[in-house]
Symmetry: C2
Subunit: 162 residues, 2 copies
DNA sequence: TATTGTTATACTCTATAACTATA
DNA sequence: TATAGTTATAGAGTATAACAATA
């Protein structure tokens, strides 16, 4: 695993051509870093951002939420507790089953996730800016193919922000 | 931010063509998930994995280590404490300055990071398997260009495993 | 009895501030 | 005084196990 951090100690590193494997691995760290930075600017963790992202087009039960985020029920309780304390989400009792709690975005939460997402996507777009339009679209096509193949093979494995 | 998690509730989702921005954002989550999974199989967190990765080709001081990982000194102390308790790293007193502590991988730590890295890289390689060799190498070329441009623009921003 | 959600508890990870020991 | 590292403390995030309320 060649390290980009090597540039820290070897600044004169000649630009080498990375393998697709190494390049994508490094790129994934860069992109996660962009998200962390944009979310952090609003005092939001990646976990909170994923929570808000999931809620953008859903009002799930606590149980469904935990499954969507790949967390234990008790972890979801804590995550929602902290988000609720900050006014980003609300707990709504279900009318049909008194055991069930639904989780919903507040207006503040919705505005926050929209703002962070927009800035993050702009960052990724800026990252892609050195590419020519044809390069960009062939990259999009190749990456789409990878994601579709991966989703087909693993079903429900991918969990981006939302 | 289109969500891959949508496939959870809409399994019949037709394969859509994602934009390069959305595709790369999602792909970064997939790749981070692969790493988390392989590290987790050895009871190792991403933070511990990054620590071990940094130490693969360095024996830094605590201070250097904190800088390399982008952490506060005190966070590095805790990270190294836990790794040392598990026999993955050792603290070595500096011979030239009695305030300084160097951090080194143990053989166990070195074997662990090698094993996890190898499996993770194989996972990424498997992810790329649907691509034809020419597609793979053009992907490698494009991604390399992005990383070089990003490194040039931001200096020391990229922090993969190591 | 089974399910939904919370609570109790414990551990990792991170940060800030104060401290010790060198330099 | 300044630097290297640790400790004290606090909070987020996660998990397991036990629990209460409801079905």
């Amino acid at each position: 695993m060649p390290s980009a951090a090597d540039r820290f100690t070897e600044p004169a590193d000649p630009p080498r051509q990375l393998s697709a494997v190494d390049g994508l691995a490094q790129l994934s760290f860069v992109i996660q870093g962009l998200l962390e930075h944009r979310a952090g600017a609003r005092q939001i963790s990646i976990s909170q951002m994923r929570l808000l992202g999931v809620l953008r087009d859903r009002t799930p039960t606590m149980n469904e939420l935990a499954t969507l985020l790949g967390l234990d029920k008790s972890s979801a309780t804590g995550l929602v507790d902290r988000a609720e304390r900050r006014g980003l989400v609300t707990r709504v009792p279900s009318s049909s089953d008194r055991r069930v709690v639904l989780v919903d975005l507040t207006d503040v939460g919705r505005a926050l996730v929209a703002a962070v997402s927009a800035r993050f996507e702009a960052d990724v777009a800026a990252l892609l800016e050195p590419l020519s339009p044809p390069d960009r679209s062939s990259l999009a096509a190749v990456v789409s193919r990878l994601l579709v193949a991966h989703a087909d093979a693993h079903g429900v494995d991918l969990f981006p922000l939302a």
